[in-house]
């Protein structure tokens, strides 16, 4: 391999790909190498649990850019390759086949992988969703009348439940917690989503544990903690994700629930950056609270920012966390961190759409979460996000009144 070093990115998801593009957009002319574990060109993951599951045509991965674009930008994309070791002293990477690659700056964009359920280890009828190939496997099992059991009432589980119902499968969701979407979504909104699933015929069972999963021929039998058993043609495990940190850890970088980075997305080694789902970073907006986000826009923004900081821009990450989920016709969006709030103000937008504004004790707007048909809440959530970014303290009466335009509060 070449001896000239350049910028190297490990992980070719949304974050890694955006970082590679951003290096070029910011004028970097040296070598750019993007290393991916999968055989596909970088593609968008959000559709995996939604469009890919329900589209009528043969599903294709939605690539972030075509091969020609990588060629045009002189980005070397290496597919199906695993880095086995980072030699920080020599500033080079080692691959499984014994080859090595030097780096000037390195970005870890290794993402997160599904948390595994030990009980499911022996079953051939259990599946996880992370990659496009996983999605195809699951999609093939979403047939009318198929019995699908989903372990975990988080976003992946509920989006898959909605998709499976659209394809006519019988769906049961098992959640150990008292309600779905315990993490990051206020109860009122989680209840709206839960009610919609029940209306579609999903068996939503909360506060229930699993004691065993056993295969019997073409199906699996799931033993519940209360002694009951249920049968499934496919069991999907969606119990959260864990950051991919092994490489960073082995290289002696600081890690915890993610690879530790500062506000510039720099790890404890100044030549190594980390961004996206794999990193845990401080948010100045919330007093430097460290968070790890599993969100598409964050992956994009941090990939872009890490690239700039690899080039020496030294810009802090200041974005307000934001994510969305689509289930049936409902669109959910959350900006900020709702758990930072102590007071909740509700604004009804009509058509069943509503937004909850979360205010801190000192009056600052710290988060807004909304749900409604289609993109009914999108515009106001976006405006709320701008208010959050400014640490604005809007009056509760104005937030509650639908005829007070949020845009007018921005001008204040």
């Amino acid at each position: 391999m070449t001896v000239t070093s350049g910028m190297v990115i490990i992980g070719a998801g949304e974050c890694g790909a955006r970082a590679a593009f951003a290096l070029r957009e910011n004028g970097y002319e040296g070598l750019v190498t993007l290393i991916g574990a999968e055989k596909h060109l970088p593609y968008e993951r959000p559709p995996l649990s939604k469009d890919i599951m329900v589209c009528e045509d043969h599903p294709v991965a939605r690539t972030i850019a075509a091969q020609e674009y990588f060629d045009e930008k002189a980005i070397q994309f290496i597919a199906e390759t695993t880095v086995t070791h980072i030699d920080r002293r020599a500033k080079q990477l080692a691959f499984a086949d014994g080859q090595s690659l030097p780096y000037e700056k390195l970005l870890l964009a290794t993402g997160a992988i599904p948390r595994t359920l030990p009980l499911a280890a022996e079953s051939r009828h259990c599946a996880y969703l992370r990659s496009f190939d996983d999605a195809l496997t699951i999609r093939a099992r979403f047939r009318p009348g198929a019995r699908i059991v989903i372990v975990g009432g988080g976003f992946i589980g509920l989006e898959l439940a909605a998709s499976a119902r659209k394809r006519g499968a019988e769906v049961t969701v098992l959640e150990t917690q008292a309600r779905v979407l315990m993490r990051g979504v206020p109860e009122e909104i989680a209840e709206t989503i839960a009610a919609r699933h029940r209306q579609e015929g999903v068996q939503l069972r909360c506060g229930i544990g699993i004691s065993a999963i056993r295969d019997s021929g073409a199906s699996a039998t799931i033993g519940l903690a209360n002694g009951e058993t249920i049968h499934a043609d496919l069991v999907i495990i969606g119990i959260g994700a864990v950051p991919v940190t092994a490489l960073a850890e082995a290289a002696g970088l600081e890690t915890g629930n993610g690879i530790f980075v500062n506000e510039y997305l720099q790890t404890s080694d100044p030549d190594i950056f980390a961004a996206g789902d794999c990193c845990i970073f401080p948010l100045a907006l919330y007093g430097g609270r460290r968070v790890r986000l599993e969100a598409w826009r964050n992956a994009q923004e941090q990939g872009t920012l890490a690239a700039r900081n690899m080039l020496g821009f030294a810009e802090p990450h200041l974005s307000v966390p934001w994510f969305w989920s689509d289930q049936y016709e409902l669109g959910l969006q959350v900006a900020g961190l709702p758990d930072e709030g102590t007071l909740t103000i509700r604004r009804d937008l009509g058509d069943g759409a509503f937004i909850l504004f979360h205010l801190a004790a000192d009056g600052r707007l710290v988060a807004a979460s909304g749900i409604g048909p289609g993109n009914a809440v999108a515009r106001d959530i976006r405006l709320a996000e701008m208010l959050i970014a400014r640490s604005a303290c809007p009056a509760a009466t104005q937030l509650a009144a639908p005829d007070v335009k949020l845009k007018s509060l921005l001008a204040a």
């Binding site: 955006r18 826009r297 994009q300 289609g374 993109n375 009914a376 999108a378 515009r379 976006r382």
Partner: protein, 105 residues
Amino acid sequence: MSDWIEACAADDIDEEDVIRFDHEGRTFAIYRSPDDEFFATDGLCTHEHIHLADGLVMDDIIECPKHNGRFSYKTGQAKGAPVCVNLKTYPIRVEAGKVLIQLGQ
């Protein structure tokens, strides 16, 4: 040249805002800029076919409600990731309080 079609009343759109206009199976977005000019573009984002009329207008930018793809609604120009394909724009004029749009073939 094709005909001018009445899309809405000028008063139907606030300044620095957008509305959706559907016509013969096609969907468009009609904008009123902060300096009170009118513009029209295709109604769906070039990234994932989301209705732009649900998005936010700030100055001369329309932002997609789903993935924050940004376009200049005056020129149709895509303003960076995730959008890379420009929006088609259409001639528009206001006559006697009516907004007229020329859709072309």
